[in-house]
Symmetry: C2
Subunit: 418 residues, 2 copies
């Protein structure tokens, strides 16, 4: 290397609003309750290996072409599997031509925003919702209005009032983003009659529904009603994912929508296709094993859900108001109003506990200051119990809450009392 070559001071050349460099990755915390990781015990390693080998033997030559030579909507084998699955499980009637495979469902969210939203537009999102959906809407310049939730999902009466109020201000929102089947983060399932009412409101007010069913494969309580898309295909943009049903490191999601929307999402995708082997593995494995895989996974996750809820009850008692989920991988809970969970983050991490603070999962962050989201899919049952106990200890040390864990009355720390 030429010794006279000096490095640039790149800091002076950056575009505005560029973030700081990512902190170097230092591994994961011991008690990892953040994000949407899944259960490593439920990854069918051997069968995925066989599926990958079979798929590559059958379709390997196609790898020589962008998009496997099959066009920008994605691997035909995967779209055909999805048609059958969506019909059988979610009541959706579509053909492979109506489906776009996306590079994760986040790409679907990106593309819907790019097709519909311009700065200054309004969108409706459940008051507590997926951080990535809220962030992408805001990143598109949208004004995000929260829709009130109860334990059955969107409160459609209050939504009607919000839509009336917006209409009287001359505002037609660009979409109603909802996760109706295992809502993220609250874990609810929107009942059928609310689904019909939501569709009616969409028609009355001329607002498309943007339905995210990332968690709909993992349901315990009862059979979920049909997807909104099944009930009104012309009013609903539907997206989903294999991240929860199979594995999040596979970057494979999908969208189903009217071609006026979907065709534009295809035109704007411009990523050279979604990873081909990821798509092939999902199609080959799920083509043979979908039902038993989902049954085993759902049962395992329900056991972990039960462990976490029991641990929360044990450690936090009445201090934690837990939204018991009807499926999925998360518990959403509220601590007393005087607890701002953001004040716990650093001390919790010091104790090896990571959680998602409620404000990140809410349209009105400040109003969600006492909430947190805990993912129970990744850690073992024992780790869940230990982690929740550690979280309660940290929370008590920082806030005096919960004052009682299990049958123990917690003693204030000397330092906390001066």
């Amino acid at each position: 290397m030429d010794e006279t070559v000096q490095e640039f001071a790149f800091e002076g050349m950056l575009a505005p609003s560029v973030p700081r460099p990512e902190p170097r990755f230092k591994g994961h915390p011991t008690y990892n309750f953040i994000g949407g990781h899944n259960d490593p015990e439920q990854i069918p390693t051997e069968r995925l290996a066989q599926a990958a080998a079979r798929a590559l033997e059958k379709h390997g030559r196609k790898l020589a072409m962008y998009n496997l030579g099959e066009g920008a909507q994605g691997f035909t084998g995967l779209r055909e599997f999805l048609c059958a699955k969506l019909a059988a499980k979610r009541g959706i009637r579509c053909t492979a031509d109506d489906i776009l495979i996306t590079t994760g469902s986040n790409q679907g969210i990106d593309l819907v925003n790019r097709v519909l939203v311009q700065p200054g537009d309004t969108v409706l999102i459940e008051e507590f919702s997926y951080a990535g959906a809220i962030g992408r809407a805001r990143g598109s310049g949208a004004n995000v209005v929260g829709m009130p939730l109860d334990s059955d999902g969107i409160d459609v009466e209050r939504l009607a009032a919000i839509l009336e109020r917006l209409r009287s201000s001359g505002v037609t929102p660009k979409y109603i983003y909802t996760i109706p089947t295992i809502q993220n983060p609250t874990g609810s399932i929107l009942p059928l009659e609310r689904r019909h009412e939501l569709i009616r409101l969409a028609g009355t007010f001329g607002v498309p529904i943007f339905e995210d069913e990332c968690y709909a494969d993992i349901v315990w309580s009862h059979d979920a009603p049909p997807s909104l898309h099944a009930l009104a295909p012309g009013r609903v943009i539907h997206i989903g994912s294999f991240s929860k049903s199979l594995a999040p490191a596979l970057r494979v999601g999908y969208a189903v929508a009217d071609w006026a929307i979907l065709g534009r999402m295809v035109a704007m995708k411009a990523d050279g296709g979604t990873g081909a082997v990821d798509q092939m593995v999902a199609a080959e494995y799920f083509g043979a094993h979908f039902d038993p895989h989902i049954q085993g996974l759902a049962a395992a996750l329900k056991r972990k859900r039960d462990v976490m809820i029991e641990a929360l009850h044990e450690e936090f008692g009445t201090s934690a108001d837990v939204w018991a989920p009807e499926g999925g991988i998360f518990v959403w809970l509220k601590l007393p109003d005087q607890v701002d969970v953001r004040s716990l983050t650093a001390a919790a991490l010091d104790a090896g506990v990571a959680f998602n603070p409620g404000p990140d999962w809410a349209c009105d962050g400040e109003a969600a200051r006492s909430y947190m989201r805990l993912c129970f899919a990744l850690p073992s049952a024992a780790t869940i119990r230990e982690g929740v106990a550690e979280l309660a200890r940290v929370c008590f040390e920082q806030t005096g809450i919960p004052s009682r864990s299990g049958n123990r009355l917690r003693q204030p720390l000397p330092s906390a009392n001066g």
Copy 2:
């Protein structure tokens, strides 16, 4: 379905500047000379199947976590392979910490533009260059200035004059984008002394070099000089891909850069990681078979290159000015000035021939109206010969050029002469 549910007229709801829906995919033309497809005969189907199975047996459980639980820079096994490959083949000294795996090298181009470019900035790009790089720079609002090329790549003397002129106008370009090793589309290799001069200019004028080495693995003529990054790591952002060396349907590329840039690319990537099985397959297969694979692929592509150049010579004679490539998968050629290749596109497609019009691969589209790019990797030798003959026939029918193909004097069509 509720019969009263009406479909939306989505057309009235779109964001501005949204494109028309993508035309429905109708299959590929018979003589497919467009894009960057590769040779299906060179996809090692059986070995990829074995590699995928082995990798999933070893690492399958990691699929339960986003990014395989290894952080947002990508699969460690693939980054370690890249360190060894980049050191051995391109002279680049780096560690796995200096590499970001991207979802195709296009994502690298996107991210570099997002980190460095704001609307109104100027960037320098070779006068003929990758359409995706020109388009992404313009999409970021950049003013694209072309750098003159000859058969050895960038004319560095004329570049110095351009940099002087820009400096006298108070303009410091945000980057110099170059494909120094098998330039796309001209197929040249920038000689070592020009590389040193380019690095000197970058330092003098304070302009980072953005080096794209997507084609550098496929070189025939001679050993290419070290990459620009090897010569001046602090001045160069380096990207590459597995699309040409292995398969374009795998969406796996990479970037190597100073952490001031790379750390911001990581922070802005936000796609939940690059497809995990695609990454694993590339690492496992190339970890064992890189050198023999590349030797076999390069030899096969050189045979096809020779077939295409012979066919162009046979069919177009002196009417085609061919830039014979020193590697890669493309031939760039110029027809006489009076031929605007855009006027041939439709008739060529009717005859089953698809080519990339020069204007799409040029900073000044109008000045490239007589150029076209032909990819020879996908079709068989026989298909190349037939397709070039069809292209010559169509070109003659539309423009009267070439008037002679092989030993045949072409007769004007009666309809063309009235």
